[in-house]
């Protein structure tokens, strides 16, 4: 047994600080660990009772009832352990209680994890206690979670006491650092995990979505050896060997300040530089600073980052500073005047001189200094959660535990009080809701109780009592005892032969592994970045966007040899399809892609692309997005490919561009940093060119010059002179091919000026659908064509619009357009035509009605040099215009019928008068589109609704991450997402804590979410409506907005007792409102303060169901 010399310096006689118990845990180690783990570091730990109290609300209640509290994990030290990399979790109760130490039934070591390939430098518990992060010389960070499914396991070949009592599994391995990981730190509330390394960087990981990287902080020019988060999450500080301490903002992950002055004199290096932030957030204390050649721990004030004070006294460099997690106030003595004293913090400082000092910020001298505690430098310090115990570990391989009494330190403030301090100082405490207050509320409704319970279970709380679980889990599988299984195992096990004749045994699974969902701890939030953007890109159901692009054909034909009279669209695929398709293929290979091609790859750039393409299609099998081209087109293509030098390069460039973007489609497999880059490139692309999305229908020739790829979109967009509103028209082309959809494969071929008998010139329209072809001829030259699975339409030079069925039957007599066609577009049975005079018409071919009749774009384009950049037609025939200023408008037919007489459609003939405008366009999915007969003269254009605005400041400030679930993000695709693509990234910028004062943030978030709900409603995108509504509701629940929530519920519920005069509609955009309400209920059930509302809705739904 190692003797520990403890020398107590009782600085303050009145307080009579004493270290009541000091344990050398190394003793335990030697007793228990036969394999001679060299050095053990103990870090954070939870003392039994306190742990229970504090973690209770955060994790499953029953989990930590065990008197075996968590101990800090132990790790091997670099210098002694060769390359062991073992992390050990110790039981604290034998440390704290002598009886337990003697009791052989109390396990001392709970788990050993030896996954690290090299020595571990740091281990940290998450604030919730659910996860453990470890970082080591193997450049890896591992995140551990307790596996609950299984009882203790024995390690083969080891004696019983080495068995792991608890099972901790590595749930994530984070790879990014190129050097040893020196420190890791969980942000308050576990939203982020930071790690620093000798590669001079700090990496911020998304703790909700490992292994996503949110940011890599570069700026240090030396080994980064310590990290600490601001307790309110606004900053993170790092200290490095480059004699600087840097503070970074979490808002934008940029450098806030770099402090060098106190470190100027620093010579030599320490193994670690673990700095610490005070729990009240006011002070940051560095490791290893120098003042007048004396080693100090520099105190840095949050206000202005002033460096006026330091902790002096250690004889060698300070290696570790660690603030007590508690804020204390002076103990009120009976009888003494109750002077309101300032709360203060407590800080422990460990040094290379092997001594430990503990300071209170209200005292000028240390509370206690312990010399010669170890043989070697102190490596890390950890306070117990109750703030009264401290664990110190040293490079010599031992760990000391010291505990204090409240008389010595003071009265710790409760979490509530602490959060109040944060709130008063910084506006918002991280504890969004003081859970402590709610935990005292009585649950009145059994259903509510269930939801609460389920919620807690869902958080993946830790296991039931080990002892019980052991027998139960190990004993029985599927009701069959393990013994039975073993008896019959040989007979039962499936044995096959592989192709090469080898035996292959399918093992019998005797226990499932809980793959533990990593998501929702209580306050866990999802930064919007990546996830949403990713979904936007992978949206399959998005409607078609139609970039208008007039300048390109011009430039295209200009660059053509003059011998070729017309720039035919058949030639277009040469460069265009390649780049365009590759863009599309990256986002959704399965989705409809525009004029894609297979080219006999004789042409060099094609070849290059080809290989990429095959690679990609390998990655996503079953995405046949190839179409054939007419031989003539190929010929032409070849000519161009050979004739033009710059073009192939462009092709290469753009395809390589898109190649990088492949991962966007499957972000999970990628590191976040890369992903972000990817998203950025996508964004850049979008800026440069009309947005390409899943079902984008680019009409442009996107490959011209590299400049145009990155050029501002406006240059590509058509410009409309305000007064006349003349939109560009497609010029006549000799032939072109248009891919309508890839699944089923459908494309249209147009050939103009086919000489027919008698010198008559005809134009031929050919449509091929899954091999079935039909043809027809038109008398006028075809300018543009469009198609969907239901209809094919073409616009001709003579201003006629012809519509054919999918089988080639003419559906309507030619429609005469008021002015030449600019853009034609089809979705489902809807046909949209935008004329050069900027009027828009939409027909429903199926019902043969006009949905939008010659609506002018005047009102949305008026007055400025705005241009239309994209057009989109939703499944319900609602046109959406994306303008160059980033705004998107949709035309709402039902609003335009304000005060108008209208037909309700073909199935109910006879006019009916609508007295009032319908504020909500209800259920277009069910009701037939209305036919306008007249429009009121004074509502010139009331029907254009703003659905999206890129520059919307609301989106910038909205922070609803706490309401967002990862699975929700996956659902958010549809017209709105397509239109708003960019909003997601602006959200990323904004979605940081404390970017704006909390109240403002709440308001903007609400406003943003509400506008999203309304926009989804207007677009009649039921899917997105549901998504945003749920998100909105969740936000309301989280933030406690009762009235709005109640109103929503009321609307969704409708009248319980049916009255004939009721105006209530039971569906909204095709969704049953009451079904929606049922979905909302679990959300509402999550917040105890809404239990009344919950109960009310529940009961009324029950009544309705019983009816």
């Amino acid at each position: 047994m190692r003797a520990v010399a403890l020398e107590l310096w009782l600085r303050d006689q009145a307080r009579a600080a004493s270290v009541t118990r000091a344990y050398c845990v190394a003793v335990l180690l030697e007793l228990m660990n036969k394999s001679k783990v060299d050095v053990i570091f103990l870090f954070s730990l939870f003392q039994a009772s306190q742990f229970f109290q504090l973690i209770f609300t955060l994790t499953e209640p029953s989990s930590q009832l065990e008197d075996k509290a968590f101990s800090g994990p132990a790790i091997d030290d670099t210098k002694l352990g060769q390359d062991s990399g073992k992390v050990v979790i110790w039981n604290m109760s034998p440390v704290l209680q002598e009886d337990d130490e003697k009791d052989e039934n109390v396990p001392k070591m709970l788990c050993q994890m030896d996954n690290h390939l090299a020595c571990v430098n740091c281990v940290r518990w998450s604030n919730s206690g659910m996860y453990l992060a470890s970082g080591g010389d193997d450049k890896l960070i591992m995140v551990w979670k307790r596996a609950t499914y299984i009882g203790p396991s024995t390690v083969l070949g080891s004696s019983g006491e080495l068995a792991n009592v608890e099972q901790w599994r590595c749930v994530s391995i984070l790879r990014s650092h190129s050097g040893d990981v020196m420190d890791v730190a969980w942000s308050p509330h576990d939203a982020w995990l930071a790690s620093c390394s000798v590669d001079n960087t700090v990496v911020i990981w998304n703790a909700v979505k490992f292994p996503e990287i949110l940011a890599t902080l570069r700026g240090h020019s030396g080994l980064v050896k310590g990290l600490t988060w601001d307790p309110v999450g606004k900053y993170i500080a790092s200290q490095a060997d480059d004699r600087s301490l840097k503070v970074w903002r979490t808002l934008d992950w940029q450098l806030e300040t770099s402090i060098t002055k106190p470190f100027d004199e620093c010579g030599g290096t320490t193994h670690v530089l673990r700095l610490s932030w005070s729990p009240d957030g006011h002070y940051l204390v560095s490791a290893h600073a120098m003042n007048n050649s004396g080693p100090t721990a520099q105190i840095i004030e949050r206000e202005g980052w002033k460096t006026n004070m330091d902790f002096v006294g250690h004889r060698k460099a300070v290696t570790v500073v660690k603030f007590n997690p508690k804020i204390f106030k002076k103990k009120q003595k009976n009888g003494s005047s109750a002077k309101p004293s300032c709360p203060y913090c407590c800080c422990a400082v460990g040094s290379k001189d092997r001594s430990l000092s503990v300071w209170l910020t209200c005292l000028k001298r240390p509370l206690v200094v312990i010399h010669e505690l170890f043989d070697k430098s102190i490596m890390d310090i950890s306070w117990t959660l109750n703030g009264l115990g401290i664990l110190v570990c040293s490079m010599d391989g031992s760990v000391a535990f010291l505990d204090f009494s409240q008389d010595e330190l003071g009265d710790p403030l409760s979490e509530e009080e602490k959060s109040r301090i944060h709130q008063s100082t910084y506006g918002k405490s991280l504890a969004i809701m003081a859970e402590a207050q709610l935990s005292t509320a009585v649950i009145e409704n059994p259903e509510m109780l269930q939801y609460q319970r389920r919620q807690q279970l869902g958080q993946g709380g830790t296991a039931a009592r080990e002892t019980g679980a052991t027998a139960a889990v190990a004993g029985v599988v599927n009701g069959e005892s393990l013994e039975d299984i073993r008896k019959n195992l040989l007979k039962k096990q499936v044995e096959t032969r592989t192709a090469d004749g080898r035996r292959r045994i399918t093992p019998l699974c005797i226990a499932q592994l809980d793959t533990g969902d990593f998501s929702t701890a209580f306050f866990n939030s999802i930064p919007l970045s990546g996830s949403l953007a990713g979904t936007m890109l992978t949206s399959h159901s998005g409607p078609q966007l139609l970039p208008l692009d007039s300048s390109t054909p011009v430039s295209f034909s200009a660059s053509k040899p003059p011998t070729e009279p017309v720039a035919t669209a058949g030639a277009r695929p040469a460069g265009d399809a390649v780049s365009k398709d590759s863009v599309n293929a990256t986002s959704t290979p399965a989705a409809l892609s525009p004029s894609v091609l297979t080219t006999p790859s004789k042409i060099e750039p094609m070849k290059a692309f080809d290989s990429r393409f095959t690679e990609r299609s390998k990655a996503t099998p079953g995405a046949p997005s190839l179409t054939s081209m007419t031989p003539t087109a190929v010929e032409r293509l070849k000519e161009q490919g050979l004739a033009k030098e710059p073009r192939p390069r462009d092709v290469l460039e753009s395809s390589s561009d898109s190649d990088e973007k492949v991962p966007v489609a499957k972000p999970s497999s990628l590191s976040k940093r890369k992903l972000e880059l990817e998203v950025e490139t996508v964004e850049k692309k979008k800026k440069g060119r009309p947005r390409k999305d899943a079902r984008l229908m680019p009409m442009s020739l996107s490959v011209q010059s590299p400049a145009s790829l990155t050029a501002e979109k406006d240059t590509v967009c058509l410009s409309i002179p305000a007064p006349t509103l003349k939109l560009p028209m497609p010029g006549p082309q000799r032939a072109f091919t248009l891919q309508v959809s890839s699944d089923p494969s459908m494309y249209i071929e147009v050939e103009n000026d086919v000489t027919a008998v008698g010198g008559l010139k005809l134009s031929r329209l050919k449509c091929n659908r899954e091999g079935k072809e039909w043809e027809t001829v038109l008398t006028s030259r075809i300018l543009t064509a469009a198609g969907s699975c239901d209809v094919v339409c073409v616009a001709c030079e003579k201003r006629t619009l012809s519509v054919f069925s999918a089988c080639g039957r003419r559906l309507l007599p030619p429609i005469l357009l008021p002015s030449p066609i600019s853009t034609l577009h089809c979705t489902g049975s809807y046909v949209m035509a935008l004329t050069a005079a900027a009027t828009l018409s939409v027909w429903d071919v199926h019902r043969q009605v006009v949905v939008v009749k010659e609506e002018s774009l005047h009102s949305i384009l008026a007055g400025s040099d705005m241009t239309v950049s994209q057009i989109l037609l939703t499944q319900h025939g609602i046109p959406v215009m994306n303008l160059s200023d980033g705004k998107a408008y949709c035309f709402n037919p039902s609003l335009s019928t304000c005060w108008a007489l209208e037909w309700t459609g073909s199935d109910s003939p006879g006019p009916c008068l609508l007295e009032e405008a319908e504020l909500k366009p209800t259920s277009a999915a069910h009701a037939p589109p209305r036919r306008q007969l007249a429009r009121s003269p004074f509502t010139s254009d009331p029907a254009w609704n703003l659905v999206s605005d890129k520059q919307d400041s609301l989106a910038q400030c909205a922070d609803f991450r706490s309401s967002l679930h990862p699975q929700d993000a996956m659902l958010c695709s549809g017209p709105l997402a397509t239109v708003q693509g960019r909003a997601s990234t602006s959200g990323r910028q904004a979605a940081r804590l404390f970017s704006v004062p909390h109240v403002v943030q709440q308001e903007t978030t609400l406003a943003y979410l509400e506008s999203q709900v309304a926009a989804a409603l207007t677009l009649q995108s039921s899917h997105e409506y549901r998504h945003w509504l749920l998100l909105y509701a969740r936000y309301l629940v989280n933030e406690g907005f009762e009235y709005r929530l109640r109103e929503i519920c009321k609307d969704l519920l409708g009248p319980v007792h049916c009255s004939t005069g009721s105006q209530w509609e039971s569906t909204v955009v095709g969704l049953r409102k009451r079904e929606l309400l049922k979905e909302l209920l679990p959300v509402i059930g999550q917040n105890l303060r809404f239990q009344r509302l919950f109960t009310e809705c529940q009961e009324q739904l029950d009544i309705l169901r019983d009816k």
């Binding site: 036969k34 394999s35 060769q82 390359d83 062991s84 994890m113 030896d114 996954n115 390939l117 090299a118 193997d138 450049k139 890896l140 299984i150 396991s153 024995t154 390690v155 083969l156 070949g157 080891s158 004696s159 080495l162 599994r169 590595c170 790879r175 299984i485 073993r486 195992l489 040989l490 096990q493 044995e495 592989t498 080898r502 035996r503 292959r504 045994i505 399918t506 093992p507 019998l508 699974c509 005797i510 226990a511 499932q512 592994l513 793959t515």
Partner: protein, 202 residues
């Protein structure tokens, strides 16, 4: 440890006649689903002196392996007596169970095996030419010798670099450090040569 850890190996039908097959019931735990099969081998060490007499009794592929605990029985025929040196037929030798993933061995479990004549008369006066039909095989099941190796569980190469003390040029993927284990049990263990991770439990 890594992705697969062996929880238990139970020696079935022990002791048994020399010619009866070996049977091991192996339980292992997998922390994350494996893309490929595990390969298990039973190696019978014919003579302590030389690896030449090692016999691979059998090798099986085990898969698919999802995350969780699994077990299977590994049965292999008895060693071919003609390949065993006559002098080593009776006495103590070793049987090894190894498991490899992607050609890299990550665990090796060794057992002492004692072959002797149960018949006291034969034991007293063993025939010059060993009578294998009379021999009884007794595996010292209570004392497995377990050696674990860090291997590259993923396909990406960057991880390989992270592995210390492993010769990257090894074609078979066997860490160099296994070599000293070869004559395990007989030569005793030399702590300095053992891979760091090995558990000494004798």
């Amino acid at each position: 440890m890594a992705k697969v850890s062996v929880l238990n190996v139970a020696v079935l039908e022990n002791p048994s006649p020399f010619h009866s097959p070996f049977r091991f019931e192996i339980s292992f735990e997998c922390s994350e689903a494996l893309a490929d099969d595990l390969e298990w081998k039973i190696i019978y060490v014919g003579s302590a002196e030389s690896e030449e007499f090692d016999q691979i009794l059998d090798s099986v592929l085990v898969g698919p392996v999802p995350a969780g605990r699994h077990m299977f029985v590994f049965q292999a025929d008895a060693p071919n007596p003609s390949l065993i040196p006559e002098t080593d037929a009776v006495g103590v030798t070793v049987v090894l169970i190894t498991c490899t993933y992607h050609g890299q061995e990550f665990i090796r479990v060794g057992y002492y095996v004692n072959n002797e004549y149960p018949n006291p008369e034969l034991r007293e006066n063993p025939p010059l030419k060993p009578d294998f039909s009379q021999l009884q095989r007794n595996i010292l099941a209570s004392n497995p010798r377990v050696t674990r190796f860090h291997i590259n569980w993923d396909n990406n190469t960057d991880r390989l670099e992270a592995i210390e003390n492993q010769d990257p040029t090894l074609g078979c993927g066997l860490p160099l450090s296994c070599t000293p284990i070869k004559g395990l049990g007989l030569s005793g263990c030399i702590p300095g040569l053992l891979p760091e991770n090995s558990m000494d439990c004798i």
